[in-house]
Amino acid sequence: MRTVIAAVAAIVAVLVVIAFYPGGGPKISLNGTGGPRMLAGAPAQSFPVKRVDGAADGLDRYRGTVVVLNLWATWCPPCREEMPALERLYREYHGRGLVVLGVDQGEAPRVAARYARDHGVTYPILIDEDQQYGRAYAAVGLPTTIVIGRDGRIVKGIDGELTLAQMREAVAPALHAQ
């Protein structure tokens, strides 16, 4: 009888140890809130795309500068409303190592080019017909804005329309970082 009890106790002990063993390695944050906010700290992904004038471009060409990556489309009213503020941000900070990239999601180059020209947009407009940036940056809607530091890592991901004041606040840490 003592043998039986010892055997059962041994099995139970092993199972308990296995069940509650914490496992090796550090834990990573997996709070599945989704959206661009969860990307902070991750390396920014780049995809080769074209500018509205047909020239090859992509995020990786701007390494070493602070990048405000703005995902937009001409059919999106909030995107259109925040473009004047993005233009002002670009003009204000361009000399201090900041670039604004407007990445049009899924539209034809001439549609985006016409809109940018008609509304006095001077920052680079990229055409992402396959919507690769939108997928990679977990956009849950448009506009989506991603601030990327000089080291190529994402500083902040923001869903929705921003005011100029909010944009200045978002880029300040990246501009001040060495």
Binding site: T3, V4, A6, A7, V8, A10, I11, V14, L15, I18, A19, G23, G25, P26, K27, I28, L30, G32, G34, L71, A73, T74, W75, C76, Q105, G106, E107, A108, R110, V111, E129, D130, Q131, Q132, G134, R135, A136, A138, A139, V140, G141, L142
Partner: protein, 314 residues
């Protein structure tokens, strides 16, 4: 001899978890009970053998029984305590957390060619560990889990206006809002058959497009050009954002069709979902099997030498 048979059966039951990991039986109480009973028999035998009940030969066999016991306990742990099998389906180019593994699954980006060929991979990453790249028809072990891919219907859709301008495709009800790849998570009953169903939107034209994946066998029964019969196709039903219907069309794989003032093209194929099933800890399994084989071989050598007494059942 009974203990040896029980050991072989237990090892077989545990290895089966690795061979066919998706079988639900491994997560039932019956499976756990069978292994627990086996473990009890093995412990009882080993206890007697160590005390010299079967002489020197029994002590040698106890080594094999110990190996079988390690395997059996690993099997109980993964079957009873391991997480249930889960299937993780996400849009191409996105990341899905897998909390049970303290890892994240990176679903590789897809273009029309990779959807058509169905050769997309999924990469599983953990902090401070190497990547585990899972390809179609492969299985990889990670901790006490086995990872494999299950292909499911997928379509890469492109939309253009009447003038040929490319249009944004969105999936408002999908976490991957800007993905042009449909993964058909739902089913729609048509003519008594449940068919893969998904929707997307073309916001520039205020259109919502419902789609149904039709297999080649189904298109053979539809009124389509002879060259498209037998090919898979997508059924497009276009509404406006108030729900008013604007037309229906069948778009064969890779062919552009015009409906409701839009030119739609779908490239059909598959995209994988990641399946995570619990499996016995590979190290424990390997160590146990090696110990078992060494013990059996040692016992067999002892029997050949004729210096030990024959085995008897416990």
């Amino acid at each position: 001899m009974t203990a040896l048979c029980v050991a072989v059966v237990c090892i077989g039951l545990v290895i089966a978890q690795d061979v066919v990991p998706l079988v639900d039986f491994f997560h039932t109480w019956q499976y756990a009970t069978a292994l627990a009973l086996g473990a009890f028999v093995l412990i009882a035998y080993a206890n007697g053998a160590i005390k010299g009940r079967d002489g020197a030969l029994g002590k040698r066999l106890a080594l094999a029984i110990a190996g079988a016991l390690v395997v059996t306990l690993a099997g109980i742990a993964s079957g009873l305590l391991g997480p249930d099998t889960q299937t993780v389906s996400h849009a191409p180019g996105t990341v899905a957390p897998i909390p049970d593994l303290r890892a994240a699954a990176f679903f590789t980006a897809a273009d029309p060619a990779s959807i058509a060929s169905g050769n997309a991979h999924v990469v599983v990453r953990r902090p401070n560990h190497g990547d585990v790249d899972v390809a179609p028809n492969e299985r990889k072990f990670l901790q006490s889990s086995v990872l494999l891919l299950r292909p499911s219907h997928a379509a890469f859709v492109e939309a253009r206006d009447g003038a040929g301008n490319h249009l944004t495709v969105t999936q408002p009800t999908n976490p991957s809002f800007l993905s042009p790849v449909l993964l058909f998570p739902n089913e729609e009953a048509i003519a008594g058959k449940k068919l893969p169903f998904d929707t997307f939107a073309v916001p520039a034209l205020q259109r919502v497009v419902k789609t149904v994946f039709l297999t080649g066998a189904m298109t053979s029964t539809l009124r389509v050009p002879p060259e498209d019969a037998g090919k898979p196709a997508l059924l497009f039903a276009v509404d406006d954002d108030r729900g008013v219907s604007h037309g229906i069309a069948v778009g064969p794989d890779g062919k552009e069709v015009t409906v409701a003032g839009m030119r739609l093209r779908a490239t059909l194929g598959s995209y994988p979902a990641l399946v995570v099933a619990s499996a016995p800890e590979p190290l424990a399994l390997a160590a146990g099997v090696v110990l078992f084989l060494i013990g059996v071989a040692w016992t067999f050598l002892g029997m050949m030498s004729g210096r030990t007494v024959p085995l008897r059942s416990p």
